[in-house]
């Protein structure tokens, strides 16, 4: 028993120390555009998957879509062109999501279907009564220029009471 411990413990220590001393380099996370993220960083590191699953369900099954709080929204801020003008590929370390995911060894499935490129500047996404325009990496809104006249019953009133609450309270709901 003692002999086993005397063999296992140094092996464990070696692994830990090797990890800490940079034999496996810590990931370099590419910088994001925009002023700040939709959630505090610590919260996001821990809970981004729960947030994405919640947003995914809302968008696909309930038709509730948000501008910045969405996978394309994340990509718009977090993915930038490389110095050579190209976008990083999903499997490269220069891609925001993969930089960390490759380090922790968790496979990302999203980009089989979702594009890893941001919408280009000038992209317009319309909402009832107003439009969002992506310019210089930030979304700005302006009054709607065109769009159909909404049928009276077709616009459900006032987002059915959805309002922003503190992210710290929300974190418990996810």
């Amino acid at each position: 028993m003692g002999r086993a411990i005397r063999r296992i413990v140094p092996a464990l220590l070696f692994t830990l120390v090797a990890a800490c001393t940079g034999r496996v380099p810590m990931p370099k996370i590419p910088a994001a555009k925009g002023a700040h993220c939709v959630r505090p960083t610590q919260w996001m590191i821990k809970n981004h998957m729960k947030l994405l699953m919640q947003l995914r369900y809302e968008a696909v099954h309930e038709g509730i879509r948000h501008k910045a709080e969405s996978l394309p929204g994340c990509i718009n801020c977090h993915v930038s062109r490389l110095p050579d003008g190209k976008y990083p590929s999903v499997t490269s370390r220069k891609f925001f999501c993969n930089a960390c995911h490759e380090y922790v060894g968790v496979r990302i499935d999203c980009f089989e279907c979702h594009t890893n490129r941001p919408q280009t500047d000038g992209a317009v996404v319309a909402e009832t009564g107003r439009e969002w325009v992506l310019a210089a990496g930030a979304w700005r809104h302006r009054a709607a220029v065109s769009g159909r006249k909404a049928d009276a019953a077709s616009t459900v009133s006032a987002a059915q009471g959805r309002r922003w609450r503190s992210p710290y309270r929300r974190s418990h709901e996810r």
């Binding site: 028993m1 003692g2 411990i5 005397r6 413990v9 464990l12 220590l13 830990l16 120390v17 800490c20 810590m26 990931p27 910088a31 994001a32 002023a35 700040h36 993220c37 939709v38 505090p40 960083t41 610590q42 590191i45 809302e58 696909v60 099954h61 309930e62 038709g63 509730i64 879509r65 948000h66 501008k67 910045a68 709080e69 394309p72 960390c100 089989e112 279907c113 979702h114 594009t115 490129r117 919408q119 996404v125 909402e127 009832t128 009564g129 107003r130 979304w139 769009g147 159909r148 049928d151 009276a152 019953a153 077709s154 616009t155 009133s157 987002a159 059915q160 959805r162 309002r163 922003w164």
Partner: protein, 254 residues
């Protein structure tokens, strides 16, 4: 403190020390992970998200085939460019909407009909999907939740209108609002990203702009909408009405 590392005190302390150093390194690196990000505030101006689907609405399409020219494929081109699919004629290529030339063999009368997912209320594809990936939203649109789709293609066997396609190869450069990927099933979504944002489907808009103005889109549950008034006033039909699927797409002039 777990009992697993019970043993000579020296070894236990070494492991703890190693653990603390590792956790410390992880915590420090987490703090420097996202430079320039403030920890407290979050995005403003995000309050106006889309409202969400409601069962007070049932989206429908009315297609007047008398205004549909056989040579016109505006709806197909618009759908294809909005959603990012391409049909180059291979049997494995997807096609969310197509023009079908329908000829009566006994009279010779011929009509060009756009056919897409009919968004049935009693959709067979929704019934047969084992995981529930093929589902009907509250506002009547039949969709595939590709996160849950296992690619069994049973819905393709079940659909009477051949509305669904299976993605057989790796895709790149998908549109950000229309994710699509290999191994899942797809079909007409009535352009849900546009509808959720208050616009009309791409095919309807293209038909209005460049085609024969044959398509009307609107809320079937609102008697005042253009589509409901047209359906109440002129005869219309559903494809394979005998199957009693209660489709959301109606045709005139068949």
């Amino acid at each position: 403190m777990s009992d697993e590392h019970a043993g000579p005190g020296g070894a236990e302390n070494d492991v703890d020390e190693g653990r603390r150093r590792f956790l410390g390194a992880a915590a420090v690196s987490a703090l420097v992970l996202a430079p320039g990000v403030s920890l407290i505030r979050y995005a403003e101006g995000d309050e106006r998200s889309t409202a969400g689907a409601s069962s007070k609405t049932r989206w429908g399409l009315l297609i007047d085939t008398t205004k549909c020219k056989p040579s016109c494929t505006a709806c197909v081109t618009a759908c294809s460019s909005y959603n990012g699919w391409k049909n180059e004629g291979r049997p494995t290529d997807p096609q969310w909407i197509r023009k079908v030339q329908v000829t009566d063999p006994s009279t010779g009368f011929s009509r060009s009909v756009p056919v897409m997912c009919q968004h049935c209320a009693n959709a067979p594809c929704v019934e047969v999907c084992p995981t529930g990936a093929s589902f009907r939203r509250a506002d009547g649109i039949v969709l595939v939740d590709r996160h849950i789709c296992i690619g069994c293609r049973y819905c393709m066997m079940a659909c009477p209108y051949k509305a669904r396609s299976f993605v057989s190869e790796n895709l790149t450069n998908q549109k950000p609002w229309a994710p699509r990927g290999k191994g899942t099933v797809e079909g007409c979504t009535l352009c849900v990203p546009r509808i959720d944002a208050g616009k009309i489907p791409a095919c309807v808009e293209a038909c209005r702009r460049e085609g024969g103005r044959a398509m009307t889109f609107g809320n079937l549950k609102d008697p005042a909408s253009a589509i409901s008034r047209a359906l109440a006033e002129y005869p219309s039909a559903q494809l394979r009405a005998d199957l009693m699927l209660d489709t959301g797409v109606h045709y005139q002039g068949l």
